[in-house]
Symmetry: D2
Subunit: 365 residues, 4 copies
């Protein structure tokens, strides 16, 4: 027997029922012990079989609920954030979009401030629409605008304030589920107001670091997380545009035919922006369909622009601007673009890679 399933063989080791056996099992129970042989294949499945399920959330549903929250729920110290977490239907009501990651829509009304705090958990924000909020990270005010990725690495103080008369909503991503299950989190309150209400166009981190291939001589120590606070849409868009132009010229630039993609990286190492979260942006030409792919670890996508669909474990889900979906570990997926199709992605791949659990399987490779 070399490739069968647990279920077909698991009973091979079941002992005959007897008074002695029942006494033994009671002894186990009394002493906080569980025999391996009575446990199902869940413990060590043939391949990852997540309790998390593939799921899509529609922006057209999310945004009105966020707006209504803005109307009904104050923001302030204690609850800290007016954030609405996406809860994977398979994960028992926990606010886990997958076993490692948290995704939420955060909503900040006109002139509101979300107070400062810090925590071990790594966080980012991605802006699918709107502008006018500044997030202040370790005292550095960072403008948030459509298409920008903003980082708040673990243990950086941060708060947000809305400098306008319009509300703003965005996507928050964190490693809260991982931190909660692995018991790694520390938390500290900071200022009830943000420490700097300035609204500069560019943060100090950007001004110091966002010059391609140039490292300040005052910053030669590598950092665990990226020192870039804001990855601007202007650069992301240009990078993707160039990849497709290079592809048109017959040059090897895209990750697949019609599929441009960038990873956001820490310029001090060339690696992922944070220890637990990978962030990427993908652009598909209209008509492109990516090969069916499985990966260890979980991913979340948000549509930034365009229309298309994802085939998730055999089911096709249509996607429009703002829609989010989650791909649990080892679930096969493929993207299909009707128009030019722009998607932001984040995942727990750094965890899988650093602990040597990553595997991928791509159709036709």
């Amino acid at each position: 027997m070399t490739a069968t399933d647990h279920e077909t063989v698991v009973h091979a080791m079941q002992p005959e029922d007897s008074a002695d056996l029942r006494a033994l099992y009671q002894g186990f129970k009394d002493n906080h012990l569980n025999p391996l042989w009575t446990q199902t294949g869940d413990l060590m499945p043939m391949h990852p079989k997540s309790k998390a399920v593939p799921h899509r959330w529609k922006w057209s549903t999310l945004l009105p609920l966020a707006q209504e929250s803005g109307r009904l729920v104050p923001v302030g110290r204690g609850g800290e954030r007016r954030a609405i977490g996406l809860a994977n239907p398979g994960l028992g009501g926990n606010t886990y979009i997958c076993p490692t990651l948290w995704a939420a829509i955060q909503y900040l009304g006109p002139r509101e401030t979300a107070p400062e705090h810090r925590h071990s958990q790594n966080a980012f924000r991605f802006v699918v629409e709107g502008e006018g909020v500044w997030t202040v990270v370790n005292g550095d005010p960072v403008r948030m605008s459509r298409g920008d990725l903003l980082l708040t690495p673990g243990w950086c103080f941060h708060g947000h304030h809305n400098d306008t008369d319009q509300p703003m909503a965005w996507l928050d991503g964190l490693d809260i589920p991982f931190s909660q299950q692995m018991d790694v989190g520390f938390f500290e309150f900071g200022s009830d107001r943000v420490t700097d209400y300035a609204t500069p166009n560019f943060s100090r981190g950007e001004r110091l670091w966002c010059h391609p291939g140039l490292r300040p001589l005052s910053q030669l120590q590598d950092t665990i997380a990226s020192p870039i606070g804001a990855y601007r849409w202007e650069f992301t868009d240009r990078a993707l545009t160039e990849q497709l132009l290079l592809e048109d010229e017959g040059q090897p630039a895209t990750v697949g035919q019609g599929h441009a993609a960038v990873r956001y990286v820490n310029p001090t190492t060339g690696g992922d922006v944070m220890s637990t979260i990978r962030c990427e942006f993908h652009r598909l030409r209209a008509g492109t369909e990516t090969p069916m792919r499985r990966e260890v670890g979980s991913s979340v996508f948000q549509v930034f622009e365009g229309e298309g669909s994802v085939v998730l474990n055999g089911e096709t889900l249509r996607l429009e601007k703002g829609d989010l979906f989650v791909i649990p570990s080892w679930i096969p997926w493929s993207l299909q673009a009707e128009t030019q199709f722009d998607l932001f992605r984040f995942s727990d791949a750094p965890i899988m890679e650093r602990l040597n659990f990553m595997r991928t399987k791509v159709d036709g490779q």
Copy 2:
């Protein structure tokens, strides 16, 4: 407010009850959404507060139950192993000694064979007493004797067989809880019998690698896990003995006064033996008491020899040969040696370090 607790402020953000609010909450529920502001401080505690609790298992209880299992439960394909898992009382009946690790007593009767399989999960065995079993790892038969640490890194085929007329019990450690919660595991059945019933004193891995400071020129590629299959007691004992002798000579060799300790390492890198599990051995002189210490991540100790106690979160637990105890994340602990006190330790520290969540706090430092 810079250092208060969640509980005191969490209600600051609670909105007034209303029909609209109830409709909003129903909308959340219908759409697999959870508002952050109704969740307790559990989500992001001020410091790690594990559901796992400190606990000790007595060898004098474990061994008779294992022996009785040997009498009543057959070993074979399906259940795969006659292993009795230690279930942390705080973790809801799961066979998790802590959120990341599995610990079990495995028992193999005279002339029995545990069939071959492989899995992504990393595993080791530590032998607190007995001998006579060989574990066959990727075809290499490895003798198991008292004091030895035997490795079965992820995706290596392995089975065991007892070459004697005496039963044998030992400690199994794996990263099953981590793998299960993070959805990273693959599994494959192998031969129903072990592939090689030879009983050499030394495995091929040891013969190739266990020469201090010498690397075979045929093995220059670094490996994810240690290529050493067996860390022999003879070497561990000698290393600890020398550290204490050097301390007697006034040399800096021990990790603390009266406290010798070694980490088992991968000779290709000098780092941990496996990506997720750290293994160490500690020896305390009689009368030694270690400073109170807290660490992110969980540890399990097994007493190898001697008597003493552990102070775990303020409670003193006496310890004898074979006793096991678990220290959940950030729980303070201190060891006290009545006699010379030898303890094997394993932990999830490589996970914490590789993902940059490690913190330690030691009294008086």
Copy 3:
């Protein structure tokens, strides 16, 4: 005796002259042997005492000689390049600006082509003035303009062509002396013409890589040398400008008061652009004087703009645009800016750091 000089003690070990001693010395000579005790402190000095000497070359001298070479010397296969090497006066006529590095002024007349070849030696070009030449590196045409740093890492094919009716001169830097003395160099001729006479504004390498913090998903393998072919002046200038503005705002951005500086790096690693050569750009505010500094390894500076001087081993040398000077290992140096003072620097620091020989000593630290 703990800090004396060799010279005072070297004779302590000199034996009495005798016929036997002379026979012994003849035996050494006959058998290609040298006794250590007859060798001077040169072999192992108290600190680095380079045969190379500090020296400055004036651009006002170099450029006319380069122009005259353009008139008299054809460029083509064999000699390969119309390059005039700066020969350190202390290094016995070798074309070594220091023991590790080569620096030369290359001159290409109107419409001329320097044919393609490749070699193990790492190379770069820095443009102090002019434009109109494209260097074609592994088939990718790279525009050369004032202030740009252009890379030709080891074993990349490269040739140059002048697309205009004006000549152009620039600085070439290579690790030829290191390669020659260490016997590491390979060489291969390529096309007699460059393989692509296109004159795009931006090379393919720039279009793929020059987006700050963004890594193409098609380029996840780290590279030994930077994949950026051209570091444009526009970015360098902006980075330095921002550092000084941040300094004005009281932020830690400069490497010293009034002293902005960037290192050119490989975006796949955050480290030096090539294995043997470090490239940096320094800007001093008018009036700034850097602390006296010594470093292991050699540096070459070229003034890009402005006026000032360098104090080199106690001697003050005035500097204008285009002037070059070399600082041999452990020679103390300090820069003084009369106007805003912009300098390009390259050095062998990666060699020193990778082999763990780097030391620095800064006055007042």
Copy 4:
């Protein structure tokens, strides 16, 4: 023209002689400039063509000269060591066995002391015969016996003393030529006597570190050089013996058929013992002939036991115990064993690898 030799084309770029040209060349000379086009292919050869030549030194010649030195030359402060350096016949009388490395026979008479000093240069000693000397490295007395490799990494204080009434000779290897040419060396005198005349069987470094796969918990910081002071013959011999036994059993253990080999490594990293010097030991079964091989960088071998020969650039040199030979960069070589043939090897491979210049070419691969 894609693969021709420099010599055939170098004159293609020679200008016509003229008064102007002579004036130009004079201008170059006056200003410390050399034109590239008048330089030969030496500067950038098609492949490494070392000035160093292959050469063998006979132990039967070296040892009597060392003994005679012992009779005629005192050892002491200033000359520091009674060491006779092997001077490559191609390197102009410098005491360089190759462009990077120094090799010398050091000789210490009965009861003599070589005083303490330290230097940036990395050093080792290898003992081809004899015993009775202790080398004291940073205060740790290290026994020197036949077959042992002893390390003195850069900037460690070290002296030697002979505890017996017999003289002793051994091989010293250092990176003096590299350090001298690259200007990286510092030197400091220490005690005129060694700081500890104890004669323990095992040094403290060995007692702390020479336990396979075990790292002291007090020593978790990686070190630039190996913390093992002595690599004992007993371990080396056993490792090689096991490799050949494993080969007999059909296991992949040797580096080639009949060719066992180990690299001495730093246990904190698994890498080379020192930044600039690689040390290895090779054992060939009688009758074994290694494939012809070329490598970038230079190697030195010393025969430890047995008889055979080396084919060096086509010339066969017979070898006996103690004989030394050098293989300059890119010179083809092959070993032939008449008896079981044991050889110690050291090389500058870490320099070549860390700076990415390594290439190898093996016949039939």
